[in-house]
Symmetry: C2
Subunit: 299 residues, 2 copies
Amino acid sequence: MRVVEKPQDLQSKLEEAQREAGAAFGRPEVFVERYIKRAKHIEVQIIGDKHGNLVHLWERDCSVQRRHQKVVEVAPSWSLTRKLRQDICEAAVRLMKSANYIAAGTVEFLVDADRGDFFFIEVNPRVQVEHTVTEQVTGIDIVKTQILVAQGFKLHEPPINIPPQDQIQTHGTAIQCRITSEDPENKFIPDYGRISTYRSPAGFGIRLDGGSAFSGAVITPYFDSLLVKLTAWGQTPHDAIRRADRALREFRVRGVKSNIPFLENLINHPAFIDGSATTTFIDTHPELFKFTPPSRPGH
Amino acid sequence: MRVVEKPQDLQSKLEEAQREAGAAFGRPEVFVERYIKRAKHIEVQIIGDKHGNLVHLWERDCSVQRRHQKVVEVAPSWSLTRKLRQDICEAAVRLMKSANYIAAGTVEFLVDADRGDFFFIEVNPRVQVEHTVTEQVTGIDIVKTQILVAQGFKLHEPPINIPPQDQIQTHGTAIQCRITSEDPENKFIPDYGRISTYRSPAGFGIRLDGGSAFSGAVITPYFDSLLVKLTAWGQTPHDAIRRADRALREFRVRGVKSNIPFLENLINHPAFIDGSATTTFIDTHPELFKFTPPSRPGH
């Protein structure tokens, strides 16, 4: 990949890329795409049935990424205007309806944070890790709905009962943090071993999607490093961030390292809070990796 | 206490009760109350501020009790008519407004399941164990609101932002199960010891309010036997019951006995599912105490 910053660099960068492609793949063809310097990753949850019904469940903002891997996801995006949000969701529905799409899927876009226009990236024809935040703000169980759709049920009839598109609203804000057995102080190298102590937060507005994490669990290097997903819901983005922060601080994971201190830095960063974080946020903010020794007992 | 079933028994039963009161308390006065044979326990969540604003957050059905201790609570009640629900909530607001009530509180009623009328019992001027189900269906954080009210904030302004009464709606249904270290096969005697293994359910619609329960925790006889509260939310009562059932089956508590098998019997009982269970439900349904040996591995 080459980024062309100035028109006069086009010819030489193009030739460089073609040479590299030819050497790597035996074919020198390359794609030319618009470069978006400050991009927000916005994706739209879609669900369609076998009878021609298809709705969107609004958008998620998954801009906070590390090496194209999402780290924190929110729904709805608190940085989009109402019109942009509506336009993106309608574009996603048009695309998926024209493909007669069935089941849960996601249409991913990049939004140019400087100009406000948006560009299609790809469709993920599956349930995604971050579907939790959409479930929290819409009240719609995406996994169950997908199974019922596969059985042949209709979206707007029992037992699915999704309301018509113009009545599908979002309530409040949800934030998901992916808690992994990765060491943020050491380039996120996955750690493994036996979890000697595991305690997780609870209470109003806290959802956990766990599996491999419990006291006594052995984390091996052979599987994904995801321990548990924390989803915090609140009436406002501020409420959801404060609740996620409280929950992260209540976790106790001992025996393996985790990325929790990094997630705490991240969700308390002004650029995350004001919605201006773009896809390069983690790479360009080294202060996210400054950890103060924990002062709280027993952490 | 004496129950008078026939008018001709009134005189003798009254005298019996008066003698008993005189012997026990030195004063023979007694209260005469209407006896409700088949009663549903319905209570209304109230919250008032220091500026004269007071709203209800709808009702909870806490009819499933054992020795006047609530076991499973739901919101909203799926056995009330819309009119009865509205009347009970309005009665609670009238009472609490006339007392200039401030903070969170609950007005408790008995509903005569045969006649459909309702009777005031008492006010609980505090946050109750079962407040979780109201939070789940209204999206309003009762604990936080109470603290903000105590600080002097107004209900309908930032940072509380509760909408006006006619816009406070319930979404879906929530069920709370109180999971205790009590042995249902042995008259609910509290068990104690070290919890060797503790794993809890998770995912969409599952809220836990824990504290004393984790792997390695020591349960002593000196405190309440409540280990964790499980709250399951669903779009319909059916959805919420199915989700609560799944969650109960996913719990792993070893080292101390728990009431989980009893709770599983309870929420799957036809009288609980159809909303007809009254306050004598547990005492009059011995089949709730028939436990089949668990067939699932590792339970």
